[in-house]
Structures are given as C-alpha cells and as structure tokens.
C-alpha cells in the first residue's frame, strides 16, 4: 500500500474503494449506508470528527408529509409548499421526489433507532414551521439534527464503511477521459497525504456560510466540495441564492449569528419591534411569523433599518407565553444557549435576533433521479448540491433532502460502479503536483508579500457582508466583485508558520481559495438576476420579474478559467405537477 517516494517526491498512501464519499453529514452518511449495503467497498472522508458536521446543529426538525398530526397533509401539498417557497425556480422533479420520499426516510430513521417526539396516539409528532401548510416537521425537542446524525453515524459504524476522520480532500482526480477516479487528501492530525482511488465519488460537503462574517455555520462551511467540482468542469446552479435565516443571535459579539431555531416561531414565538408592536402583520398578515424565511428576514431587517430595532440592533422574539415548563419540553437547547451565552432567560424575557447567513440553496447541478453531476463519476447530494430549494429553502426541508438524495446518490454511485469497468490509475506526477501545491503555504520561504489566511478570510467576509448581503444592488455588487477579484489575486500569498502536525493555520490556508471562488460565483449571478425573488433581493429591481421565473443561472468554469454564466430555461413541468400548482393558485389545498 505504502508508496515510498524517493528524492523530490512526497510519500503518500494509496487507498482504494469502489465508492469514495466526501463529507460525513447526513447526506454523505446516507449515501455510505446505501453503497455499503450493496456490498461495495466504501470510504467516507470528513474534515472533523464523526458526528460533528453541520447536520448535528440542526434543531427544528425534518419535513415529511406523514400526516400524523394533520391527516390532510400529502406529498402534493409538500411539493406545492416547496415550489412556492422556492419561487418556482426549483427543479420540479427533485421537489416531487423529495415530497414523495421524505416519509419513508423518516420511518427508516426510526427503524434504525432514532427517537422522535410522539403524538398521543404513539406516532411521530410533527410541529408547524414557516410556509409549511400543515404541521409537518418530525422533531425531537430542538435537537433533531443530533438525533439524525447520531443515528446515521451508528448505522455507518455498523457497516464495513471505512471512516477517515479529520481528513481534508484538496482535489478531485480525473483520468485521461475526464472521469473522476479518486481524490487527493491529507490528514489534519499529521499532514500525511492519501491518494484515494475510487470508481465513483459522491460529494456531500455541505454549504459555504463562512463566506460571511455573521453566520450560523462552523469553520467547515467553506464550500470545498462545490469548488472542487466546479474546478473540474461541473455545472453549478443558481449560486446567487443564499439563505438569510431571520433569527440569529445578536449579543454578545462572540455569538453573533448563532442560530435561533425557527422552532421558536413554530411553537408560537412572536416578533416585536422596540415599540412593542407585533409587526409581521405588515409583511404577511396571513402567515405572520410563520411566513417563509425570505419574507421574515426582510421584515426583521426592515424594522431595524426603520429605527425600530432593539438595544443591540436586532428585533425581539418572544416565547415567554410557553412558560418555563413548556420551554424545557419543546426548546430546552435554546433555553440553555441563551442563559449560558447571553444571560437571557427566555422563559422570562424576549430574545434579541437579527438575520444570519444560514444555508446555500445554489450548488452543484445534479440530475434528479440519481444525483449525477455533469462530470462522469461524480455525484453530489445535500447542501453542496443545488436545485431542490430554488430561491428559498423551507425550514426542515434540508434534513429530509439529505436523506432522500443521499440515498439516491448512493444508488447512483453503485449503479455507475456496476456498469463501468474502468481503472482508477492516474499519473503519479499529478499527485505530486497537487501535494506541492498544498504544502506551498507552509514550505515556501517567507517574503514581504505574505498574508495571514485568517485575516484574508476575514477581509473577504467583510466584503461579502457589505456587498452581497440580504439587500443587494448593482453598483454595490459590482464594487464587491472588484474587491473579491483583488483578494483572489492575493490568495497565492497566503503563508503560515508551524509544521504539518495539527496546524489550523495551514488548514485555513487551503479553504481560502474555495471561499473566494464561491463568492465570485455568487456575486456574478446576483448581478445577473435583476429582480426580487426569494433570498435574492435587489433594491434596484425591487419586484418579481416573470422572465426570471423560468430560468436558472448555470455557471461553469470556462476554458481560460473565467466564469461562464448561462441563462438556462427550466424545462416545462409535466401536467400532473402543473395541475397541482394551478389548483393551489386558485386557493385550493390539495
């Protein structure tokens, strides 16, 4: 196994698998279980320890039209809600599959040992959430993601899947014909390189909230997978669509951006401004606090803009009506979070909240049935992929997305492996070149142009906050683009000290190129989409424009490394789906 390098060559290990999965959140682990279950050799790689991915942080729940609380619910209504929430630029086939299969994925979790809160009839309980017509979110208190990730983790450990913890992939490797045949990675513990040879690769690396300063995302959300795929020619869809969650913490400064689950509003929490007014009636009188996230985020933002903000520049979210007992049953984690970190007892006083960057709807474009990307041998699922959520994701639709499409990506990879007999060799020179690139920030000699990866990242975050935030306009976006491109030129100057032993500076130096590239894609697409749709809010084009309702913006790396943007028509919806939307437009629930 060990390939011993001679002079000028770095040692690296070779690991072979039928399917390599990059990312161990809900999506990656569900794909692993699927592929391992078919008897294939599976490896799964994750930057942190097992069970620590973003999925663990999900609080509110998993959307699935199982109709335990509201028997009228159906996949049809879930489909309609998802399409409406996404302002109709979603991939309708993905939305259909998602709505139809989520219930089975929820039951499957239960079969594997997950425990959801129960109804009085002994079934999985469901809570209301923004823009879901019926009570639809299977949940366990406000720690649903923990239940999901732990269940999947224990399931993965019960298979023969080989888990590579704290290992970072830096490149997808292709054979001469362009198909993906593996990846290069290094271990964070000691900087050992691993060449993974795999017949198929599933990308499940999550989102890129870290391009903004105020975010609910951890250090992991740097968009690695999206850009690794983009770099080898994969098409991306609607990258401008970044979700601003209406309620992030605002105080103290260290927790700014931390999520306050939508479950608070699901359980009846109300939003008020500094005048004590419950203002959602001015923005969406019908759905009030349970309107879709884009609407509530804009409302919260507008109230503060109008000078009706709270002490620390947020708005008030009040759940005191539930009382201590109720809160400890439904939202114990939130209670603890505010008490410990902000000295606020949410059973007695309101929380201060403001929009925070939360989720990325855009991503790697996939074919809906089995999540194949436009590059052969590469599949993608979960937050790094795009299409299902359109211009705005509904709360709870991500956890279900992970399982529905994680499973399908697994099936896709298995079928692909079975149908193809290609080898996975690549020239060793390719491996060595990549290793040199990865080591460069550490091994290059010092110069006066050197930059700190932390400070460069922070500078980029400031640019994105200023130019590509919740409110956007052409001038600001263009100025932002200029700044991003200037930062891009400085990426090669990133320099770190220390050695290969668990060196976060070196690790951060790898992320910066993803952050910059993904920011560029977002801003370029945001310039193109001249309208207000879902999370894209252009002040200089402050209304929904029909013309944009039938197109996706597809981005791809051009021959000279430039960003190619294409407006692509969304294919017409089949009758059985368009009828549902027509019915719903007439006010019918289906």
């Amino acid at each position: 196994m060990e390939t011993n390098g001679s002079r000028n060559r770095e040692n690296f290990e070779v690991r072979e698998h039928d399917v390599l999965i990059i990312g161990a959140g809900g999506a990656g682990m569900r794909a692993a279980v699927e592929a391992a279950g078919k008897g294939l050799s599976v490896g799964i790689v994750t930057k942190s320890l097992l069970g620590k991915a973003h999925t663990v942080m999900a609080e509110g729940g998993m959307a699935a039209a199982i109709g335990n609380v509201d028997p009228e619910d159906s996949w049809r209504q879930h489909f309609i809600d998802t399409m409406k929430g996404g302002k109709f630029i979603n991939n309708w086939r993905m939305a259909e599959i998602h709505a139809k299969e989520s219930p089975d994925r929820a039951y499957e979790l239960e079969q594997w040992g997950a425990l959801f809160n129960r109804t009085p009839e002994g079934k999985i309980s469901q809570r209301p959430f923004g823009a879901h017509t019926y009570r639809r979110l299977a949940h366990v208190g406000d720690r649903t993601g923990l239940e999901l990730i732990r269940t999947m983790q224990e399931k993965v450990l019960a298979t023969d899947t080989k888990v590579y913890m704290e290992t970072t992939v830096t490149k997808l490797l292709q054979d001469a014909s362009g198909r993906v045949v593996g990846a290069l990675a290094y271990t964070r513990e000691n900087g050992k390189f691993i060449h993974y040879k795999a017949k198929a690769v599933v990308m499940a690396t999550g989102g890129w909230g870290r391009i903004f300063k105020v975010t609910s995302n951890s250090w992991e959300g740097t968009g690695d997978g999206a850009i690794l795929a983009y770099d080898i020619g994969a098409e991306m869809v609607d990258m401008e669509m970044v979700q601003f969650h209406p309620t992030g913490m605002v105080w103290p400064p260290g927790v700014r951006g931390l999520l306050v689950t939508e479950g608070v509003r699901g359980e009846g929490g109300v939003l008020k401004n500094s005048e004590g007014k419950r203002y959602m009636g001015d923005y969406d009188p019908e759905r009030m606090e349970l309107s879709s996230r884009d609407v509530v985020a804009r409302a919260n933002f507008s109230e503060v803009q109008a000078g009706r903000g709270s002490e620390h520049g947020g708005v008030y979210l009040d759940i005191t009506h539930l009382g201590y007992e109720g809160i400890m049953q439904k939202l114990p984690t939130m209670h603890e979070q505010f008490l410990k970190l902000a000295d606020v007892d949410i059973a007695k006083e309101p929380m201060e909240v403001f929009p925070t960057i939360h989720y990325t709807m855009g991503g790697i474009k996939v074919e809906p049935e089995h999540c194949a990307t436009t590059v052969p041998g590469l599949f993608a699922a979960g937050e790094c992929s795009g299409g299902l959520h359109g211009a705005n994701r509904l709360g709870g639709n991500s956890l279900s997305d992970l399982l529905v499409f994680g499973r399908r990506a697994g099936i896709g990879a298995v079928e692909y492996v079975e149908q193809n007999t290609h080898g996975t060799d690549i020239p060793e020179a390719d491996v060595q070149t990549e290793i040199r690139r990865v080591l460069d920030p550490m091994e290059r000699t010092k110069s006066d142009k050197d930059e700190s990866p932390y400070l460069l990242q922070s500078e980029l975050q400031d640019v994105m906050m200023e130019h590509a935030n919740l409110v956007r306009d052409e001038d600001a976006l263009k100025e932002g683009l200029g700044k991003i491109l200037a930062i891009k030129d400085r990426v090669p100057n990133v320099k770190v000290g220390g050695n290969r032993l668990f060196n976060p500076g070196w690790h951060t130096a790898q992320d910066i190129k993803y952050l910059v590239q993904v920011s560029e894609l977002i801003v370029r697409c945001a310039i193109e989409r001249k309208e207000k749709r879902g999370s894209q809010w252009r002040l200089d084009h402050d209304e929904l424009v029909d013309e944009y309702g039938s197109i996706n913006f597809i981005t791809k790396k051009g021959p000279q490394g430039e960003v190619e943007i294409e407006r692509r028509e969304i294919p017409p919806m089949p009758g059985h789906l368009s009828e549902l939307l027509d019915e719903s437009a007439k006010g019918a629930k289906v």
Binding site: L50, Y107, E110, E154, A158, P252, L341, N499, P504, T508
Partner: protein, 278 residues
C-alpha cells in the same frame, strides 16, 4: 497590560480615549505534544460575553496561527471543543471568561487520551468502542407505535453530544488506563438507551458485563458532574445497567422471560393490558 506588548496590548493602547483602555485577559495554554509540551501565557483583548473558545481563536488568528483546537458549533451542541480549564473538563464554547475573574486561566487538552498537539487529543479510541456496541435492532417494522411515557426516559441518554468529558474524568480510564476492559460512561449511556428502547430486541447485557466492564465502575459520579447536557450518567445509565446485569446473571426466571418475550420490555400500555389479563 503586558510588558512584551503583544497585539492585544497594542490595540489597547490605541483605543479611543472615551472608551478608556481596553480590558485584556491572560490565558495559559498548553502548547506542544504529549512528549514535549508546556503552558505558554497569552494576552488578548476581552470582549463582552467572551467565552474561552473566543479567546483561543483570537489568539490563533492574531498571534499563533498554528495553535490547535477543535470546535464546530460554538453553541454547546456538537461536543467538539472539550478541553480542561483549570484541571476540569469543560466545553470551551460554553465557558465564559468572566467566570474566572480573579483566577488564573489554564487551558489544557483532555488528558485521558493521547495528546496530539496543543488542545487536541486523540479521541479515536471512543469510536472504536462505539463500533463494538451492537447497534439498534428491531424485528418490528417502523413506523412504530410508542407512547411518550414509553420513551420519556430515553430522551436523556440520547442528548449525549459525545464531548467525551465523562470519559476524561473517569478514573478507571484516566488513572488506571483500563481502556482495554472498560467502555467508559459515554458508552454506558449508549447501552442504556439501546437496552431500554421498547422496540429493540438485541441482547447486550453480556457485553456490558464482560466486554464493556460495567463492574469496574465504582459509582463515584464524577462523570455525572461534568456532563454538559446534564445526563445523570451514574444514576440513570450505569446503575440501571448494573441492576440488569445482576438480574440477568443471578435471576434465571427473568432471564427466561426475556428469551420468551423476545423484546426486552413491553410498552407501558402492553404491560397494562397484560396486567389486566387481556
């Protein structure tokens, strides 16, 4: 303010007049490896509501780019940032700096596991133990009918965020190094919910006794004291498992019952029905 004038101190000196001088805080952080490491003192600018993790990350960004620390959620949900503050295991993201007002702050990695570097220990052993526990298995087909009262007591062990602080503090592991014979409190917590899940029909009691070594626990309750999510590990997980092991091994009638019933326990309503003879 320090004599060596690090960046925080400089920022303090440059602060606008009406703010007064910025407050700073000193941290003594373990730097180095298992074989070669020592505490180093750092000083950073104090921010309102700052937690120890904020301070560590600020030092990392401004002074020591290779300072190793684990974190993810910053909200006490993921269990990544466990380390020892003044000798006690703590989540760095949940420990406010001001709690230590008037004291020195010493930050060290978890010591029950091999130290990799700085605040990062090698916790991979835990995942090996986890892999050895028989997973949830049910002959029944989900969706299950289970009532709140049947599963209430399972919510507590299921809150575990795998911070491994209970493992760190348990003397059986920390002092006596019985990693080969003893699974540690975290995994009794896991065994407990599995054993008490009304739909599970796997038998783990032999493993709990022989492989996981529940008998080595002498109920000191140190694990319970450090659990950041408030699991009463000793009372609610370990003691019930010890009792079940005792029952299993010393009460043949109970053992037979289990074999006949298949599942280990009935739902409360089933039990009620059985009692009423229908």
């Amino acid at each position: 303010m320090t004599e060596n004038g690090n960046s925080a101190a400089r920022a303090g000196a440059a602060a606008v007049a009406d703010d007064g001088p910025k407050k700073t805080v000193k941290l003594n952080i373990f730097r180095g490896t298992e074989e070669d490491g020592k505490e180093v003192e750092y000083e950073v600018e104090l921010a309102e509501g700052m937690v120890v993790l904020d301070a560590v990350l600020k030092i990392q960004a401004e002074q020591e780019d290779d300072l190793a620390v684990r974190w993810n959620c910053k909200a006490a949900h993921c269990g990544s940032c466990s380390a020892e503050i003044n000798g006690k295991p703590k989540l760095l993201c949940k420990s406010r700096v001001e709690e230590y007002e008037g004291q020195e702050i010493h930050v060290q990695p978890l010591h029950a596991f091999p130290i990799i570097k700085d605040l990062v220990s090698d916790v991979s052993w835990n995942y090996e133990v986890s892999k050895g526990i028989k997973p949830f298995t049910s002959d029944e087909q989900a969706p299950f009918t289970m009532y709140e009262e049947d599963v209430e007591r399972l919510y507590e062990p299921k809150k575990c965020i795998e911070c491994f602080m209970c493992q760190d503090v348990c003397h059986v592991l920390r002092t006596h190094n019985k990693h080969e014979e003893f699974a540690g409190p975290r995994f009794f917590v896991r065994n407990q919910w599995l054993e008490m899940h009304p739909m599970d029909n796997q038998d783990r009691l032999e493993d709990v006794k022989e492989k996981d070594g529940v008998g080595l626990c002498n109920i000191t309750k140190c694990c319970t004291e450090v659990c950041p999510v408030g699991i009463k590990i000793t009372d609610n997980s370990i003691i019930p498992l010890k009792e079940r092991v005792a029952d299993e091994y010393y009460d043949p009638a109970k053992w037979l019952m289990r074999k006949i019933r298949g599942r280990k326990s009935m739902t409360n309503r089933e039990a009620e029905a059985a009692k009423n003879g229908n």
